[in-house]
Amino acid sequence: MRRSTLIGGSLVVVFFLAAWLIKGAGASGESPYYSAFLITLAAFLTLAVFSFLYADNPVYKFAEHLFVGVSAAYWMVLGFWQTLVPNLIPRISRALSEQLELEYIDELWNVLYVIPVVLGILLLLRLSRKLGWLSRYAVAFIVGTTAGLNFIAYTRSNFMAQISSTFLPLVGDWTSWAAFVDNLSLSATGPLALLMANIVVVLGVVCGLIYFFFSREHSGTFGMASRLGIWILMITFGASFGYTVMGRISLLVGRMTFLLRDWLGIIAS
């Protein structure tokens, strides 16, 4: 077992070394071997992840663990340079601002910026067993802010706005019954299609809500409405399924394009 791992591993290494050298020899530009190395590295990692499809293996684990470390550091670095530095330094230190060529913002309330720093440091105390409890102040701030923001935003956008969006007209431009009946056809742009579409929306919203009604047994008329509700929900989930398939395939096309175009050069750009 050990031995086969070793042989397999060396074969993989030799393969990608060869791929690098071939790619480098064929490349142009300032440092062909460096850019060829990067492309080969990316191809190696891509295939390493794909190897998970065969079975979990050390090469996949290597890529997985590397990614864990790289991604945590990546977000940290970006957070530091894009938010902490430009939004905090110009308010707490003139000297540091000058050093980083940032414009010092001279405001009376700058002293308040001590609050997020202190809370942030308290949050970091979570790493300590003894002082970990202090981090609950930072968590309290985070939770309070999110609760306040969500309270209003969800009330307005996902609740009230959704009610008014359900006030749908059954007919587009109403003139008369005669005109309405004349135009009835099974055309996608016709009035019948609009009528059906809007009735389905109103009925669907009402019955869907009934399905999510927990204080009553779903029986009788109520149960029928709830039944209709779950059917509407099933169409919703079907739509979700279809779109998700589309999304996943698109990603695979993206990776295949990388392998076939950028690495192997089989297809033109």
Binding site: S164, F167, F214, S215, E217
Partner: protein
């Protein structure tokens, strides 16, 4: 206990009502001047007709430093000689000038909000509570030809304490708060509030038993949301129940977390559950741990655990994104029983087909209320149900009102429909 919360709320309410009253008392009548005087100096293209009906008023629902202007277009803008290129907004502190040019509005525009800087010393500083006069000049291709409207004013800018555009949201908020407090209070008094049974929840106990028989651990995921999110909170409640059962049966639980804060809360929850089950010593702090914050690195980590430890049961409760399918698929490969619940709609179909039980959206919250029998959760669930009933009624009424008024019904019906427009 509930008294204290109630008063906390009442004080908040009173403060807001005061703010409303203050806001209304400050409403200002608009100042208007329909008289237009043409300034006929140096004409080389025919002078267009001036704008009429210029109105300047304090910009409503702002924090000051704003004046709203509106006017009727010059007849030569869209019609007539069509010589109008734009409208220059002019302002002065006296009716006779000197005039400052503020900005130019394009042809066809009949509205302009003049919002000035708030700090003294900034150019164009705009003090509140100071008389201002406005005039709008019609501009043409010839810079020499500009026709002025009459001067309107004085007008003052000021801030409003209550944003009346948001009154409906405010009222709903109050009504819903009332419902929640009412039902929570009722639940606390020991009223039995009915919740219809949910199939996915009964399965949990059975699954823990199975894990014990097999001598394999239970994998519990709190999802990828942060600790403040509702589904994560619901997940904590269900985790508490599962962990308690696990402690009673002396099985093992594994809770890999994607968020450090979630991890801390989950640790707390599991620890408490072990104490409640009377086995605080069996609690292993390493059973709840942080993996990584990056979505797919986390998935890869959990995948690894599933394939290596082959848990008897996987429970997925909380916020899940793209990884739901991989979890469910890998879980199937590992031969685990799977119970899922999430409010992430795109993931429900996958849980639905690959898992043994699935809680759809809100059923997750209901499950958490049902399990804990906690008055707060049950009361909230009731309040939500009533709010839903109210929506069904409003939706049907609004729908009828829209259609009746479209067919020529009375005007107040349209007013009712407009009441629900909350987008600004």
């Amino acid at each position: 206990m509930q008294q204290k919360h109630f008063w906390r709320f009442v004080i908040g309410l009173a403060l807001m009502t005061m703010a409303t009253a203050l806001g209304q008392s400050e409403a200002d009548p608009p100042v208007s001047d329909t008289l237009a005087v043409a300034d006929t100096a140096a004409i080389s293209v025919p002078a267009p007709l001036p704008v009429t009906n210029l109105i300047a008023r304090d910009k409503p629902n702002d924090r000051g430093y704003g004046i709203s202007l509106s006017w009727d277009l010059s007849p030569d803008d869209t019609g007539g000689t069509q010589s109008v290129l734009g409208y220059r907004i002019m302002r002065s502190t006296t009716p006779d000038g000197p005039w400052d040019s503020i900005n130019v509005a394009g042809s066809g525009d009949a509205l302009y909000d003049h919002i000035g800087p708030r700090h003294e010393g900034d150019s164009g500083y705009f003090p509140d509570h100071t008389d201002m006069y406005y005039r709008v000049d019609v501009l043409t291709a010839d810079p020499g030809v500009a026709v002025s409207s009459g001067v309107v004013g004085p007008v003052q800018s000021r801030g409003q304490w209550f944003n009346t555009a948001r009154t409906v949201v405010f009222l709903f908020m109050i009504a819903f708060c009332g419902l929640v407090i009412w039902f929570v209070t009722h639940a606390r008094r020991g009223k039995d509030l009915y919740v219809r049974p949910l199939a996915g929840i009964e399965a949990v106990d059975e699954a823990v038993g199975r894990a014990t028989e097999m001598g394999k651990p239970i994998l519990y995921l709190c999802g990828l949301g942060d600790a403040a999110e509702v589904p994560t909170i619901a997940s904590f409640t269900i985790l508490g129940r599962v962990a308690k059962r696990v402690a009673e049966y002396q099985t093992q639980i594994i809770v890999p977390c994607r968020d450090p804060i979630v991890m801390t809360v989950a640790q707390e929850v599991v620890k408490t559950a072990y104490s409640d089950a009377g086995r605080p010593d069996s609690y292993n702090p390493d059973s709840v741990f942080f993996l990584t914050i990056e979505q797919f690195a986390y998935v890869a980590g959990v995948n690894g655990i599933m394939l290596r430890d082959k848990p008897a049961t996987n429970v997925y409760m909380g916020k899940f994104y793209a990884e739901s399918l991989i979890f469910a698929e890998t879980g199937t490969m590992a031969g685990s029983i799977q119970i899922a619940g999430t409010d992430e709609i795109p993931q429900i179909p996958f849980f639905f087909v690959a898992c043994d039980y699935t809680l759809i959206g809100e059923e997750l919250y209901a499950a958490s209320a049902y399990l804990s029998r906690e008055p707060v959760l049950l009361g909230s669930l009731k309040a939500q149900d009533y709010a839903k009933a109210a929506i069904i009624v409003f939706a049907i009424l609004g729908f009828l009102a829209t259609n009746v008024s479209a067919l020529g019904g009375p005007e107040w019906l349209a007013g009712f429909v407009d009441l629900f427009q909350v987008r600004e």
